[in-house]
Symmetry: C2
Subunit: 306 residues, 2 copies
């Protein structure tokens, strides 16, 4: 299986913070990888490591059996796949398209539909685990699409991540990612509100975190992001503006399906307040700083904001 | 240490769902335990197992070196300790008072102060882990008070729980418990919103839970309460009305310290809606049902509400 797959020629579009280490890991695993990116720097970097540079997504598609994208948002993915010079123009029947970006489930389903008309199967396969997970090849990958396409992609996913699960049909990976971002947002807010309350009530928030990690309040967020809050270390990690973007997708998707998300809407407003305070590029755990601001504990986190 | 402690005569007031198994575990561990409860049934039950029945908290205090309480809320604890026929009237200097109820930190500090005037040390030691943890002796215990008093109580705590931590001075245990309830409430809401969105978007919520348990959305709530939501099994567990009470304490405490809790306030309103739907005695994970109601997925969860 793996041997067969290694003969698949892979194309990779989008060599940002996430895409670059992912494409690199595929090269290291022995895949032939054709790469494209809007800015040239990362393309040259990957070409120097054995990748093949392509001048457009169309050219990537022409030269690949499996075409992958890792882009910022839905419009970029639609443009790269369906726009002029895009994947659709170069792709051949029998190829497999995998979008690993976090986009709207509706976008994933649209692409699935449009490429199916060309005899091309698609998977939506958003990830969690951030830059560190991309570098280490330990991403969680939530996949939507058909079983057969998933099995074909599995050896590639296993190079990129550890936790790989087919959750359902087209769009199901994106729905799962939206679920992830909803849970993470509210858990961060719970941890931030609690730790600020503890601190202002004169109780050591480090002790609180330690005590609560052993009980029902245990979460990976309390562990990892709680630590960041205590250390006041808000280097991303995962940027607030990207989490806010993902909540937009979650709220939009929920609205399309008639699901009011009261907690999520409120958390999204908290993040808007963070953006208003110049915290866009800080880790999303910096919600703690906004909570401190609400509690008037610091005049303004000057050193941390622009 | 343990041998010394076993010679301490223990008094226990409040033999409800939590207090009964806790007093029973102390008896089993070899302690002499004098018990009192407003209704007689549980007193007779514990007396039949080797406990000594007392007719009032005052009598419990007279016969005990360590007096413990496990009661529903702040007013009950104030009444039992400071009211007529209460612990204060019977307690001797050198005794130790331990309140394991979940009450306002302000109440804990008041009791600590008032009993200190009689030469009695106090600990606030609320727990998490529920009825199952009380029975198994695996409660998490968050303790506020002086180090010396904590060391004296440690052998007793080790009979009742596994995760025992002194978090700070008087009231710090209650502040920590309030933090616990804030985090748990928001995490439950995050899980409920996400799983309802998944279901209504046509994605198997069981697959979503499975996928997300491996990533940053991992939490004990997603694991345990997420399972309850999928099974639609809302037998408590921890009753919604008690969690709502604990959020009242958290919001009140936060307000006293000038800390607005936007997410918690919103979650408390969700729980008020649950109470309005007759869900008071259901497990707090039944927030999922309210979320389904909001999404108009069921006309009303009739079989589950009164």
């Amino acid at each position: 299986m793996r041997e067969n797959s290694i003969r698949e020629r892979v194309g990779f579009v989008g060599l940002g913070i996430m895409g670059r280490p992912m494409a690199r890991n595929l090269l290291k695993a022995g895949y032939a990888v054709t790469v494209h990116n809007r800015s040239k720097g990362p393309v040259e970097e990957l070409a120097a490591e054995g990748g093949v540079a392509a001048s457009s997504p169309r050219e990537v598609a022409r030269k690949s059996d499996v075409i992958m994208t890792m882009l910022p948002d839905s419009p970029e993915v639609e443009e790269v796949v369906l726009g002029p010079g895009g994947v659709r123009e170069g792709v051949r029947p029998g190829a497999l398209f995998i979008d690993m970006s976090t986009v709207a489930p509706a976008t994933a389903r649209k692409i699935h539909r449009e490429l199916a008309e060309r005899g091309v199967r698609s998977l939506d396969a958003p990830v969690s685990g951030g830059e560190a997970g991309a570098k280490a090849g330990t991403l969680s990958i939530m996949v939507g699409g058909e079983e057969e396409a998933f099995e074909r992609a599995r050896p590639i996913f296993e190079v990129l991540g550890k936790n790989v699960l087919l959750v359902g049909g087209p769009g199901a990976g994106q729905v799962t990612k939206a679920c992830n971002q909803v849970m993470v947002a509210l858990t961060i807010q719970g941890v931030a509100e609690a730790l600020v309350m503890a601190r202002k009530a004169g109780v050591d928030p480090g002790k609180v975190r330690e005590a609560l990690l052993g009980g029902f309040a245990q979460s990976r967020i309390l562990d990892v992001h709680g630590k960041r809050m205590l250390d006041r270390d808000f280097m991303p990690g995962f940027k607030t503006r990207l989490h806010r973007k993902d909540l937009r997708i979650a709220l939009q998707t929920a609205r399309e399906h008639g699901v009011p998300l009261l907690g999520t809407a409120q958390a999204a407003q908290m993040m808007d307040a963070m953006l208003a305070h110049g915290m866009a590029e800080m880790d999303h755990s910096a919600l703690y700083l906004l909570q401190e601001l609400l509690a008037n504990m610091v005049p303004k986190p000057r050193g941390l904001c622009r």
